[in-house]
């Protein structure tokens, strides 16, 4: 039994190990100062890193408040039919394939552009990419926040209410801080999730060979760079794709480690 379980763990870890190994061994050769300084048009990935950071930053700025507030609503006020319905739809949204979300953002902006509400230039732009990524991240953050808040014992809420603290303030100042490490972990995992998305960006941000040019312009991102470089005709580009993969993996690893550190630090202050 034990041996069997261990064997299964080994099998499960083979892809992870192999991926990290290959990305490191093959990617490390591409890493040079120029690799970060040049744009994708010149064989570097500087603008892709920049684009990914901008996309992640803007998406987080939208999805974190909306997602966490949705989670608060579901956990604290959602014990009724409306809450159950919202929870169901949030669950459905977390299951939607990301390419469909890309089509959604694309067609939304296309329609809005067609009737003249927004400039039709926006269809392929950073803005559309942020809309698509937020659509993926909001339900994810909402559900993880809800689960985190549900773990806070009822007695914590009751003792806050019994002090005559209004309910919204008890939730924001007592319940939410009690759940903060789990909420932060969920937020960081959400960021990691959208940071690696390629499909929705293919039809929204499109990609660009230049440094960031504005919210109404296409922008490059690491996953898109990997996609384009890996399919590229020349072996130098294929090599650069490995380098970009390594950087992306390291960024996501950094986020995962950061979430651990946050939990450790918060536990340490208790």
């Amino acid at each position: 039994m034990n041996l069997g379980a261990f064997f299964c763990v080994v099998i499960a870890l083979i892809p992870l190990g192999s991926l990290l190994f290959e990305a490191t061994v093959r990617g490390i050769r591409s890493i040079s100062p120029g690799f970060f300084a040049l744009t994708t048009a010149n064989g570097g990935i500087g603008n892709a890193i920049q684009g990914t950071l901008i996309l992640i930053g803007l998406t987080a700025a939208i999805a974190l408040p909306v997602g966490i507030l949705t989670g608060i609503y579901l956990a604290e006020y959602g014990k009724n039919r409306v809450g159950a319905a919202i929870r169901f739809f949030v669950d459905v949204m977390t299951q939607i394939p990301s390419i469909v979300v890309g089509i959604f953002a694309f067609s939304l902006l296309l329609e809005l552009g067609a009737i003249g509400i927004v400039s039709s230039r926006l269809v392929f732009s950073t803005t559309t990419g942020v809309i698509a990524l937020s659509t993926i991240m909001i339900p994810f953050v909402a559900r993880t926040s809800e689960e985190a808040l549900r773990l806070v014992p009822i007695s914590t809420r009751e003792s806050a209410l019994a002090l005559g603290i209004p309910r919204y303030r008890a939730i924001l100042r007592v319940v939410l801080p009690s759940a903060s490490s789990a909420v932060i972990t969920g937020a960081l995992l959400g960021i990691a999730r959208v940071g690696g998305e390629t499909a929705p960006l293919l039809m929204t941000c499109l990609g660009s060979g230049y440094w960031f040019e504005g919210l109404d312009q296409p922008c490059e991102s690491l996953p898109h760079t990997i996609y384009v470089f890996a399919l590229g005709p020349d072996s130098a580009l294929n090599q650069a794709a490995w380098g970009a993969s390594l950087i992306l993996v390291l960024m996501m690893l950094g986020i995962a480690i950061a979430s651990r550190v946050v939990i450790r630090l918060r536990a340490g202050t208790r």
Binding site: K79, T156, R157, S159, L161, L163, G164, I165, R173, R270
Partner: protein, 250 residues
Amino acid sequence: MPPKIHTEKLSAWYGPKRAIEDITLDFEEHAVSAIIGPSGCGKSTLIRCLNRMHETIPKARAEGKVLLNDEDVYALPAVTVRRRIGMVFQKANPFPTMSIYENVAAGLRLNGVRDRDKLDVAVLESLKQAALWDEVKDSLDKSGASLSGGQQQRLCIARALAVRPEVLLMDEPCSALDPIATAKIEDLIFDLRKDYTVVIVTHNMQQAARVADTTAFLYLGKLIETAGTRELFERPKETLTESYITGRFG
């Protein structure tokens, strides 16, 4: 002297289930009133109706009147009622993310008090009143969860006292504590009557006999008998009360 709290035909439900029925009862000022009865008789529900905590449970509702100094608490905002009628729960529940100081100051701070001197004074006085000051004065910035069970419960008492309530409700405050910690809290309850009106729910009859001036006996949601504690234990009028206090059921 009129009673501090008066309930008039107070009934409470959880969904369709009635937990207490037509309870008319007085709680005297500067006295300790105990409510005793077997598990599930509605003791906790009764005191949770006094500070409107009952209604925080989904599908729970109450009918009848609760008067605090002749004011109908159901006509006042719930937050005002809860500031005037504080509560200590069965299980000590300090806020896990807050230090000892922040726990005691929480009720004031989260109700908008920012003045540091005022908070310092309130924390000092409340911890002294809760007989905890000497044990924690050098570690006010430590987590409330780092204290022992009995200390945590006294911390919760200090937290409730910090908002200067007129009444303090205690829902089986010692049921999770060892005898020494229990004795400390009972001494404390005895002293608190000088400044507060105390209502304590307990399933421990000896505890009621030790700390309370008057005792009410509840059974299956109904008020069976209320009297001076000594009288109730020595000369109960109802046979139901007598069988309960002599341990024949419950």
